[in-house]
Amino acid sequence: MRASSGREAARGDLLLFAGCLALALLALMFPRAWTSAFSSGLRHTILRPIVMLQSRAAEDRTSRFRLGGIERTRDSLALVVMDGAATRRENDNLRALLALRGRLARPHRAANVLHRPIGTDNRMLLIDIGREDGVSEFDPVVSGDGLLGSIWSVEAHSSSVLTWLHPDFRASAVTADGSILGTLILAPSSAGFATHSVLELSGVPLHDSLRLGTIVYTSGIGTVYPRGIPVGRIVGIGKETQGWERVYRVAPFANPGDATSVMVLTAPHDSAFLPIPTKRDSVQ
């Protein structure tokens, strides 16, 4: 009698294990859009207290350990802003004389990167601001060092960020003088796995070449990243099998693994310039 009940319990265990295993495998195979919507729903409802707790923990850590660093950064920035004021005025005057468009300001929202319970390789980050803070999908996300990625999905009070470490990351890039354009993607390796922390700048014409150390910026082409966000520095030449373009390896400035505070650029996406002034405006 006891042996038979033991066998039944063991069979029950096996069934439960197989059921959990099957559900886990199904979860792995579901399209990302479904799992993202499901996760967003849970974060916004049942897990909202935990997200709030993590957000509070990030704020406490900043105030406890990083306040000195933030104050130093603020002071340095204040000096830069003071130095740049005269140049900006001069630039505005010259633009007015030549009837050029003025630059748009970039509205942004500051956010904390929330703690990740497991150490995956930072391809996606969770931040503590969302739709109610004015964030929307595909908003660019930057840190003090440069481009991190863009908003992948957004909930009311939190958002997921797709960083440049993700295989789906794409950005149009340009050199500082605007002469050479290309597309940035995560550098693939021969084994099919992504290599660590390097991007590839592809699509550079064969008749153009870049020197090592050249800094690349977002070009503003497309609808996600505005022009002029620093991305990284050319550190080498990549493999190009077709023979019709040059490929360069780019070491990004911003490391998603170190990011604790980020900025979400809420607008504009496709241009850094105001509309061309009308003739009447330019006469004035």
Partner: protein, 179 residues
Amino acid sequence: MTGPRFVDRRRRIRSASERGEGVRVAVVLVILLLLEFYLRPSLTDWRGMPDFLVLALLLLAIRQRPGSAAVTGFFIGLLVDVLSPARFGAGILAHVLVGWGAAWGRGIFFADNLIVNVALFFVGTWVRDVMVQILSGTSLRGLWIEAIWWAPLQGVTTAAVGVVIVLLFREWLAIRIER
């Protein structure tokens, strides 16, 4: 002394005792959740910090049958995957396997010995970390670094905290430790 009233009284006492034990285990779980989601991120995001979620899973798994431990692993893995937007399902699969393995292994290896518990916490954390990296499609270099540096480091810190938790709450968790 063996009448129906006595049997009924014994059943009530046992049921109250089980309820009390459930409450005590729930209190330990809440403490571990607070440590994971408030204390750990408010101190540092260093990868070597102890993982209180996998510790909670292992502490529950050694009290449960393998099937129930797999279900516990499923829910803890779901929590991890929802809060770590990397590869959905990787955390669930890893936690189900670790939970089931811990409960199944208890019947074979586990004496009520502190060293065995330490080994369980270390191996459980290491296996979970490496499995999540593999299922997330991490680079080979990242996987190698995880397997020989971060996962063992986190295993050691998790095991250290696990020993403290076991020693502090062994009555509440109904864990017997041989002296």
